[in-house]
């Protein structure tokens, strides 16, 4: 497990149940009364690896659109993503947060761009290629995970790029993460190809 501390949030990334245990230990020290929350969070992280780990339904709930959250208002905010056999979770005690990571892989991504991207994003992805497509996808998904809206018919109605550069929607801050370069993580087969983005709500009115 690796924890990475940014200004305003912490990213935990790992692949195994023991990684999840390490995540819990660190969260317990970093966030007040966090152990009970992180134990519940372990289920979210490790569900694919550890079927014996059960969630506490009173601690983690989901919104109607599926966004998980801690029921205690004093608990930290979090967002979870999985890809390429890794899980990642961001936690913050400040604002609503969304996180997405996607392993860049050989795919017919162009129909997905045309179907789900804003026209400005489609143009940029088609002209710059697969790497840019995955950057845009992660940025957009981090936004809709932050708002709790999820991917719906409005996913193509907003753009996270303008003039070829990353654009944070009003009220949000997008933070693209370069895990292979910045994290010091060692899996050279995965991390240099892992795209990731965090979205933080800057205001309470966080609808796009």
């Amino acid at each position: 497990m690796k924890e990475l501390h940014y200004n305003g949030f912490t990213l935990y990334i790992g692949s195994t149940p023991s990684d999840a245990d390490a995540c819990i230990r660190d969260c317990s020290m970093r966030y007040q009364n966090a152990s009970r929350y992180t134990n519940a969070l372990r289920y979210t992280n490790a569900t694919r690896f550890d079927n014996a780990c059960k969630p506490d339904a009173l601690i983690i709930q989901r919104t109607q659109r599926g966004k998980p959250y801690f029921t205690d208002e004093a608990a930290p905010k979090f967002s979870v993503s999985h890809s390429g056999g890794l899980w990642g979770v961001v936690m913050t005690d400040r604002a609503d947060i969304g996180f997405d990571m996607e392993l860049e892989r050989e795919r017919n991504w162009r129909p997905v761009a045309r179907r789900f991207f804003h026209p400005e994003e489609v143009e940029l992805a088609l002209s710059h290629g697969r790497k840019t497509f995955f950057d845009i996808w992660c940025a957009k998904e981090s936004v809709v995970k932050c708002t709790g809206q999820g991917i719906d018919e409005d996913f193509s109605a907003f753009s996270v790029v303008r003039g070829g550069a990353t654009l944070s929607p009003p009220g949000f801050m997008l933070i693209p993460l370069k895990l292979g370069d910045e994290a010091g993580l060692t899996d050279a087969n995965i991390l240099p190809h892992m795209h990731a983005c965090v979205c933080i709500a800057l205001s309470e009115e966080n609808h796009i």
Partner: protein, 79 residues
């Protein structure tokens, strides 16, 4: 119908061993991008449009089979 679904999923993700009980996220570890990639392949294959709001009701392969039956999509494949 199961063979068609399995073929599309395999072509997109390389995942095998699809059964009606296969959960797209828990068993196949598909990401949201994977799911949308599969949806695009279904739409192209069957010349149809699947509303995004319907996608999140499709949790396992049997849900896809039922959805295709309800929409009459499977008949196009059988003709």
């Amino acid at each position: 119908m199961l063979d068609t679904i399995a073929e599309i999923i395999f072509n997109i993700t390389g995942k095998k061993g699809i059964t009606p009980e296969t959960d797209l996220v828990k068993d196949l570890e598909l990401t949201s991008f994977d799911v949308m990639n599969i949806i695009c392949a279904f739409e192209e294959r069957f010349n149809t449009t699947i509303p995004t709001r319907d996608v999140w009701n499709l949790h396992d392969v049997s849900d896809i089979m039922n959805y295709m039956r309800e929409k009459g999509i499977d008949r196009e494949e059988m003709d």
